[in-house]
Amino acid sequence: MTQEQRLAAAEGLTEVLARTTGSAEHPTRLARATATASGELKALDLHPNALAQGPDAVGRLVVETARLATDAAVQKSYNELAKSLGDSMAMAVEAFAGPPPLQPAGAAPRSQAESAAIPRPEAAVQPQAAVQSQVTPPAAHRRSATGTPPPPWAGQVKSRPAPRPQPEETDDDDYFADPFRGQRQ
């Protein structure tokens, strides 16, 4: 890619960021949102049941869903960027702008919902991590609200979903030494 092409691609970057939108559904399925990579909400749908959760919960629901949609849009922008600038340039951008929020390609929407639904373990010991999902795990809030002492396992959170089974041959060296190893009887 020549310098001129790179400049032209960079010129288009702002437009890509403004044009690219991402959509996400809240893990509770009570809200859906579409947002640009710069966080501008373009569409919002609230499930009728969402309103029954009370005004505070609706507010949090919208904030969390908007963040998920923005993350999806940023991820899409990165993908667009990689297309127009080439992978090496996109990696250079990631190096200073931070990693893309979602995992690449196929698994993206599902893993995104899961990562929001399940608070990360460190959030349990650091309550100031306020960006963690606050709508989804109502059980913990209710427990503390009733006044009964929480059981010893109250602070625990569900573990991450089991990792996808890895193919046994992940070592490139093994593969290149004998690419047909796994297919021999």
Binding site: A35, L41, L46, L51
Partner: protein, 124 residues
């Protein structure tokens, strides 16, 4: 010193000035509310809404109307955030940096502070 180094130094200087200014004045946040107070949104420039407050009576609007109102108010909060970012950067950075802000999508917008004492607003 070549052109790239000069540019890098100017970027670093501008960043330092803006960061120092923001450290004194607090984070730049935009805010907007519906006229009846049903929905209030707080947003940072270039980010999704940080806080959405819904009044208890707003739940009576129903899901569609409430979602539309949140959309309207959050768009205004984003514009307010962009405007405030402009005013913050204007105080410390050179005009080129301020123009660059507009180029990357942060519009200056009218000063629509309710407390600046003029009724002569431009029409929208």
């Amino acid at each position: 010193m070549d052109e790239t180094q000069r540019a890098a130094r100017r970027v670093a200087d501008t960043e330092r000035q803006v960061v120092e200014h923001a450290a004194r004045t607090g984070p730049v946040l935009g805010r907007a509310s519906s006229p009846d107070g049903a929905v209030t949104v707080v947003a940072a420039p270039g980010g999704p809404p940080q806080e959405v407050r819904v009044s208890p009576s707003a739940l009576n609007m129903g899901p569609r109307a409430l979602a539309d109102e949140i959309l309207r108010v959050s768009a205004r909060a984003s514009r307010d955030a962009a405007s405030r970012l402009h005013r913050t950067v204007e105080r410390v950075a050179d005009p080129a940096a301020v123009r660059a802000l507009a180029e990357i999508g942060f519009e200056r917008g009218p000063d629509d502070d309710e407390f600046d004492g003029t009724y002569l607003r431009e029409s929208r």
